[in-house]
C-alpha cells in the first residue's frame, strides 16, 4: 500500500530537483552570455535586442506599474489611517507608506506586474520558437539560443526592474501625499519633508537588490518554461500559464527569504 505513495513522493521530489537543476544550468549559461550582450564589449545585435526588450518590458509597463502603485498607495494609506487616527497618530501614515513602498511594495508589485506582462510573453515567444523549430535552426546556425534569445531579455530585465521599482515607489508615495492632502489638508511640501525624513538609504538599496533578484527569477523561470515546450500550440499556452504561476510563486518565496535576511542583519 505504502510503496506507491513513496514512489510518487520520490518521483515528485526528483522532478523538482531536476527543475531546479535545469534552472541553475540555464542561469549560469545566461550569466556567461550576458557579457556578449553588453554595449561596446559585446555583440551589437544583442545590445540592440536588449534595448528593444527594455522598451517592451520597461517603458511600456510604466503606466500599469504606476497605476497599480497609486492604487496600492491609496489602499495602504486609507487602511493605515483608519487605525492610526484612533491613536491620534495619523502622520505615521507617511512613514507607513514611505517605508512600505521602498522596502516592500515597490519591488513586489513591480515584480508581479512584470511577471504577468512579460513573463508570459517570454515563455510564449520561446515556446512557439521551439514548436516551429526556430530554436533548432538557431543551433544549426551555430547561434546559442540562450545567448540569442534569453540574454537580451535578462539584461533588459536587470536594467528595467530597478527603474520600474523606483517608479512604483515614487507613485505609491505620491498617492500617500494625495491622501494626506485630501484627508488632513497637509501641504505637499510638508508631506515630502516627512517622507524624505522617513526614507532610509538602506531600505531603498535592499528594495533594489530585491528587484534584481526578482528580475532573475522572472526571466529564468519564464524562459525555462518556454525552452521546455514540447508538442503543439496548447503546450505554448500551458507554458505561459506555468511561467506566470511559477515565477510569481518564486518571487514571493524569495521575498520572504530576502526580507528575513534584511530583518536579521538589520539589528531590529
Amino acid at each position: 500500500m505504502n510503496i506507491p505513495v513513496a514512489e510518487r513522493v520520490g518521483s515528485a521530489t526528483l522532478r523538482h530537483v531536476e527543475y531546479v537543476g535545469g534552472l541553475t544550468t540555464q542561469f549560469w549559461s545566461a550569466l556567461r552570455s550576458l557579457g556578449r550582450t553588453l554595449p561596446l564589449l559585446g555583440n551589437r545585435n544583442r545590445w540592440q535586442a536588449a534595448i528593444n526588450q527594455m522598451v517592451a518590458v520597461g517603458v511600456e509597463a510604466i503606466p500599469m506599474v504606476g497605476i497599480m502603485a497609486v492604487c496600492a498607495g491609496f489602499i495602504l494609506a486609507m487602511q493605515g489611517a483608519s487605525e492610526l487616527r484612533r491613536f491620534g497618530a495619523i502622520k505615521f501614515v507617511i512613514d507607513l507608506v514611505t517605508v512600505g513602498f521602498t522596502r516592500e511594495l515597490g519591488p513586489l508589485l513591480t515584480a508581479i506586474a512584470v511577471s504577468g506582462r512579460s513573463g508570459s510573453a517570454f515563455s510564449a515567444e520561446i515556446g512557439s520558437m521551439v514548436v516551429t523549430e526556430e530554436v533548432d535552426a538557431l543551433r544549426t546556425m551555430a547561434i546559442e539560443p540562450i545567448e540569442f534569445v534569453l540574454a537580451p531579455k535578462y539584461l533588459a530585465a536587470l536594467v528595467v526592474l530597478p527603474c520600474l521599482t523606483i517608479v512604483s515607489s515614487a507613485c505609491g508615495i505620491l498617492a500617500g501625499a494625495l491622501f494626506m492632502r485630501i484627508s488632513t489638508n497637509m501641504a505637499f511640501d510638508v508631506y515630502f519633508q516627512y517622507a524624505i525624513h522617513a526614507m532610509v538609504l538602506r531600505d531603498v538599496i535592499t528594495g533594489l537588490i530585491k528587484s534584481l533578484a526578482f528580475a532573475t527569477i522572472i526571466v529564468q523561470v519564464a524562459c525555462l518554461e518556454g525552452f521546455r515546450v514540447r508538442g503543439g500550440p496548447d503546450a505554448v499556452g500551458r507554458s505561459a500559464t506555468a511561467a506566470v504561476v511559477k515565477s510569481t510563486f518564486l518571487v514571493i518565496l524569495a521575498d520572504v527569504g530576502f526580507t528575513a535576511m534584511f530583518y536579521i542583519t538589520g539589528g531590529h
Binding site: N45, E133, T140, I143
Partner: protein, 273 residues
Amino acid sequence: MPELDGAIEPAISVRDLVVSYNGRRVLDGINLDIARGETMVLLGGSGSGKSTLLRQIIGLERPQEGRVLVRGTNLAEAKPDELKKLRHSIGVAFQNAALFNSMSVEENIALPLREHTKLPESTIRLMTWLKLAVVGLTEFGKLDPQQLSGGMKKRAAVARALALDPDILVFDEPSAGLDPIVAAELDELILGLKRAFDMTVVVVTHEMSSAFRIADRLAMLYKGTLIAVGTKNEFRANPHPRIRQFLDRIPDQISDTAPVERYFERYLEERPV
C-alpha cells in the same frame, strides 16, 4: 555517381549509432557513409527514425552509443570552436522552414552572416540578394515570412541554409505540405544547387517520386535499422518486402477487423426485434 573511395574521407559517416527514448530503441546500430558531392536520400515511413537520424547528423542531439563523424570530426566530442566551424559547413532547411517570424525574409538570410562574419553591411546586403536570387525570391526579400506561400517559405529557408556557403546541405521533408508542382520545383532547385555548387546533399523524405528524381543513392530506414542502401537501380531491383511495400504503396494491416465483426454479430443477435 561518386564512388565511395577509401582514400577520400566521406562527408558524413555514421557508425553503430544507437538512440533510444524511454527505453525504446529509435535507432538501432546505424552504419552509413555519405560521400562528398553525392545526394543521399533517407527514406522511411513515419516513426522509422529518419528524423532522429537527421537530428543526429546535424548535431542537434548526442548519440547514446556510436559516433557521427562530419568531415572526419566526431560531433559529440568536438570542441566548441570545432563544432561551430562544422555547423557553418552544414546548412539545414527545416520541414516547416523555421524562418524567424520577427524578421523579414532578408534579415533571416542575413542573420548567419551578421552573426558569424564581420562583413560590411553593403556586402551582407549583396550576399543576401545573391542567395535570394539563387532560390528566385529577389522580389520578396522585404516581406515577412508569414506573407510567403508554403513553397516560397521553403525556398527562403534554403537561401538561409546557403548563407554561409556550406558544403553539406540538409533537407528535412522538402516536399511535405506542398502541391506536386511546387514540390517538383523544389526538387529542381536541389538538383540545380548540387550542380552549381557541388555540394553534398542529404534529404529526408517519404515522397518516392521526389526521392528517385534527386537521389544518387538512397537509404531505407525501417524500425530504427537501415534495411537497404544503394543506387536507384539497386533499389528498384531490391526484393525486400518492406521496400516493395513502400515502392508499391501497399498499406499495413492497421486495424484488427475481427473484434469489430464480432461486435456487430453480437449487436445484431441482441437487438430487440
